[in-house]
């Protein structure tokens, strides 16, 4: 078999998962070791994938059902690194809740494996398998703190709604298979007849399923509850990693087989994008819980990423990828702050708990200030550039309405970010939080803040990397 070495990362992760499971069963108190080994596995996989990125020529494997190209390698590296950081900074949190167990890193690894398969998929069945693998791991992760009612509720809600959306997705797949006779993206693109409207039905069903996974409005209902109920470290994982994978599938699915049908799906994406941007911004205003707030904020950020995809151009895809990359950095910073809000082994997650943070924790609050202004998209921070690239690609396609609505919703969104800043800086202080934080937590906060703050000095680097993504 040719080119088998290209899926070494996936093979390596699968073998590691099995090995770690066995290790967990036979060795007592092995959670710490497994945690560390998992970190190592993620890092090694990222390195192997990074080596792949050097051979840019797109290659397909297994009867063209898996594709390895620049996009897939880039997204995999982002996924792996994000998962790595999540695992790195969550240990203290898990210990506090006494859920520092062997299953946690293994579940994360298996969901990452699922995502890597999704990212590489060039076939509806492979894509569905990857999706289910990651989803099943995520259901369990959501309920990981099983002694808490909210966590169980989150997992159950996520499971029921996600299963529903998977059903819709499968139905779409079967429609497409029925009318093209193949599940392979490349074959589909040559087989279908543009006048066949049933294909459009199939696309719509699949888009609905995918929109659910990235929590785009109107398929976002689960997100706030699940994000709030899940353990914070899992919420962090939810807000970033599955979205990268789902977004890659979005790109691959829309641009490889169905680029000719852009008139059909562009409207859908524009609607999803506008609805997400506006709804996310407006609904976040009334929130009191930081995790719920960040759920709505992530809905609106996904709206911007979708705006880039809606353009139907390479620049649009690139701007979406840049947006997601910067969003992940901002999100990591935000959650690092959230994980630092601990006093006597209790984690606080209401917005009011941030009251007067600037007096007791000046450094923490200035980092959070920078991250929040960046999330709001105020220059010269990284978040502004992310939005700038998106709107540049949108306006290049003369989609002015989308651009103006998007920019106006940034103003609405600015309000709730400002509200957090107001509470941190203008309100009276409360008791201070513990200061004995994990070194990695501090490091991830510092690094993400510096990246956000200093992005304007080296804006070309990220563009250079991303501009090699070439789908059309």
């Amino acid at each position: 078999m040719n080119n088998i070495e290209l899926i070494f990362p996936e093979i390596f992760i699968s073998l590691s998962i099995m090995f770690l499971l066995i290790l967990g069963v036979f060795k007592k108190d092995s959670s710490k070791i497994i945690h560390n080994i998992s970190l190592l596995v993620l890092l090694i996989t990222a390195v192997i994938t990074f080596n792949e990125i050097l051979s840019i020529n797109p290659t397909t494997l297994f009867n063209e059902s898996i594709i390895i190209d620049y996009l897939s390698s880039f997204m995999k590296i982002i996924t792996l690194l994000a998962a790595f950081v999540v695992l790195l900074i969550s240990s203290n949190y898990l210990r506090t809740f006494k859920i520092f167990k062997i299953e946690y890193p293994i579940l994360i690894l298996s969901s990452v494996l699922g995502m890597m398969i999704m990212i590489s998929s060039n076939d509806l069945i492979v894509f569905y398998m990857g999706l289910e693998l990651q989803s099943l791991a995520l259901y369990v992760l959501a309920t990981f703190n099983r002694d808490q009612l909210k966590s169980s509720e989150a997992g159950l809600k996520y499971f029921v709604l996600s299963a529903l959306s998977s059903g819709l997705l499968l139905y779409g797949c079967s429609l497409i298979y029925g009318f093209t006779g193949s599940t392979n993206f490349n074959v589909i693109s040559t087989q279908f007849n543009t006048n066949e409207y049933v294909i459009t039905f199939g696309i719509v069903f699949i888009l609905v399923g995918l929109a659910f996974k990235i929590s785009a409005v109107p398929f976002h209902m689960w997100a706030p509850d699940v994000y709030e109920g899940s353990p914070t470290s899992v919420t962090l994982f939810f807000t970033m990693v599955p979205k990268i994978a789902a977004l890659t599938v979005f790109i691959r699915f829309l641009y490889v087989p169905f680029l000719n049908l852009i008139d059909q799906w562009q409207m859908i994406l524009v609607f999803l994008s506008i609805a997400s941007m506006l709804f996310g911004a407006i609904a976040a205003i009334g929130q009191k819980n930081l995790k719920r707030l960040i759920a709505y904020s992530s809905i609106s950020h996904i709206g911007y990423a979708l705006a880039g995809l809606a353009t139907g151009s390479n620049e649009g895809i690139q701007s979406s990828v840049i947006y997601m990359t910067i969003y992940i950095i901002m999100n990591l910073g935000f959650f690092s702050c959230l994980l630092m809000m601990r006093r006597n082994n209790i984690y606080y997650e209401q917005i009011d708990d941030l009251s007067g943070l600037s007096k007791n924790h000046p450094l923490l609050s200035i980092s959070l200030l920078i991250i929040l202004f960046s999330l709001a998209g105020i220059p010269p921070l990284a978040g502004f550039f992310a939005k700038f690239y998106i709107f540049k690609s949108v306006i290049e396609q003369s989609m002015y309405f989308l651009a103006i609505v998007g920019l106006l919703s940034t103003v609405v969104a600015a309000f709730y970010y400002l509200r957090i800043i107001k509470i941190m800086y203008f309100d009276e202080e409360k008791d201070s939080y513990d200061k004995d934080h994990n070194l990695w937590l501090k490091l991830s906060l510092t690094v993400s803040t510096i990246l956000i703050l200093m992005y304007f000095i080296f804006p070309s680097e990220l563009i250079d990397v991303v501009s090699k993504i070439n789908i059309i």
Partner: protein
């Protein structure tokens, strides 16, 4: 490559701020922090004076240009000055140290962070006036919101939260449309470099919409009637130094933007929309002057008078004549000095009596005579008495307006009269009259630093009132060139 003087001007305050960030401010160190900030801003001031000294007044091309690749194939970091922008840079570097000196009494908590905010603000403000690329301009223009939001919100008065939010959201809402316009310009012409855009010109069919998008941003920032409502709130709640920065420099960004971008990039649209600007300016002048007449809060009164004065500025700019634009720039510089001084004057009595209400005061001329004299100088400058810088600007603007549109000029002149009324009435009620409130007798006259800052502001106000030549010489050639280009493109359209 020569010494990058403009980038140094932009970066220096931020470096000072970074330095402050790593020093502690407790007890003794408070004074050190202030000296560090003062030193940084003074170095910047002398650097900008040196820049003025080197500046060649005989040409309208941009000088000290630095052009570097910033985002490859997309945006260049390009800065440079011409006669129009250099005065604003000097105004900025001149006002900032005075602000820092004045923080003595008004800011009691978190001094270090306050100084950092002011220095960062200075970076952004100088950046706005230097930038020759639309995206770079937008970056600095918007970034200024962050420190100002914090200055109002953390160190402001009782309703600070409301005012800070109103300030932030109003200006952000105005500017996002400008961002759409900037990206559209990039899409239409393939560049955001202002110098290149001046040469290329923008197709007239796009100009009107683009002009409106820029207008939405500048109108909020100027502020023009009816979107001026954030200004009184922001001024009233901001600490003295914040008000000074806001009135003296932030408002000038929009006036500068009108000249540099609205006139320069969209000449035919500017011609189309001149009646709109005239109308809004005249309404601003008369309406807000009348409102100012009724104010009981000193800061609010001065804030409304700012709106009226900026009404003159926009009126002058869109007469599109040599005197009009010259007058507008001088009016902006003069307003920068005078309104800064007036806010400092209010700050002086506020620090002593903790009241901004006019009714609290009265008859303090004998208690604090030095203050009374300086306050008078600025009151008279604000109403445009001949011999003060306020007169030169208003006179030139009205002269140009009379040439262009008699009715508008008459109405605007009416505003001058109301302006005189509210300023003199303010002065009368605060300084003269019977001393009823016995608390006032305990007031202490200006201390050294207050006297110093106010005198520093009084000298240029009077000097440029009698002898505006240095200002006019600096801006003359650039404006003539701007008007020539404007006339040429309007004529070529017809």
């Amino acid at each position: 490559m020569n010494f990058p003087i403009l980038s140094s001007l932009i970066l220096l305050p931020s470096i000072g701020a970074l330095f402050l960030f790593f020093t502690k401010s407790k007890g003794e160190n408070k004074i050190t922090a202030k000296y560090v900030a003062l030193f940084t801003s003074l170095v910047n001031f002398f650097l900008s004076i040196y820049l003025w000294f080197l500046f060649d007044q005989t040409t309208s091309t941009f000088q000290f240009v630095e052009d570097r690749i910033w985002i490859k194939g997309l945006i260049n970091y390009k800065v440079g000055v011409d006669g129009i922008s250099i005065l604003f840079i000097i105004l900025t570097t001149f006002i900032t140290p005075l602000c820092i000196i004045s923080v003595n009494n008004s800011v009691t908590k978190r001094l270090n962070e306050f100084l950092i905010a002011i220095l960062v603000m200075e970076t952004f403000m100088i950046g706005v006036f230097c930038s020759l690329d639309l995206v770079v301009f937008y970056l600095f223009f918007e970034a200024g919101l962050i420190p100002m939001f914090l200055i109002i919100g953390i160190w402001g008065g009782a309703r600070r939260v409301y005012s800070a939010f109103k300030f932030f959201l109003f200006t952000l809402l105005g500017s996002v449309l400008m961002l759409v316009a900037i990206i559209s310009i990039y899409w239409i012409t393939g560049t955001t470099d202002v110098v290149q855009l001046y040469e290329l010109g923008i197709d007239t069919k796009y100009q009107n919409l683009l002009w409106l998008a820029f207008f939405s941003s500048f109108a909020v920032k100027t502020p023009m009637w009816p979107v001026h409502t954030w200004l009184p709130d922001a001024h009233v709640e901001a600490p003295t130094a914040g008000s000074v920065l806001l009135a003296a420099i932030l408002l000038k960004m929009a006036g500068y933007g009108f000249i540099r971008f609205s006139l320069g990039l969209f000449p035919s649209a500017s011609e189309v929309f001149t009646p709109l600007i005239y109308t809004l300016s005249v309404i601003a002048i008369i309406f807000t002057s009348l409102i100012a007449l009724m104010q009981e809060d000193m800061k609010k009164l001065i804030a409304y008078s700012s709106v009226a004065h900026m009404g003159f500025v926009t009126l002058g700019i869109f007469t599109i004549q040599q005197q009009g634009i010259e007058g507008s720039i001088i009016q902006m510089i003069s307003h920068g000095l005078v309104s800064a001084a007036l806010f400092l004057c209010v700050g002086v009595v506020y620090d002593r009596m903790h009241s901004r209400l006019i009714a609290t005061y009265g008859g303090i001329v004998n208690v604090i005579p030095k203050y009374a004299i300086l306050f008078m100088v600025f009151t008279l400058a604000a109403l445009g008495l001949p011999g003060t810088s306020g007169f030169v600007g208003e006179f030139l603007i009205l002269m140009a307006a009379f040439k262009d549109n008699f009715l508008v000029a008459v109405l605007a002149s009416l505003g001058v009269i109301i302006g005189a009324a509210y300023m003199l009435w303010l002065y009368k009620r605060v300084i003269f009259g019977k001393l009823i409130n016995s608390e006032l007798k305990k007031m202490i006259d200006l201390n050294k630093s207050e006297a110093f800052t106010l005198t520093c502001l009084a000298i240029p106000t009077l000097y440029f009132g009698f002898y505006p030549e240095p200002l006019i010489n600096t801006i003359e050639v650039s404006i003539r060139d701007l008007i020539d280009t404007y006339n040429f493109s309007v004529a070529s359209k017809q």
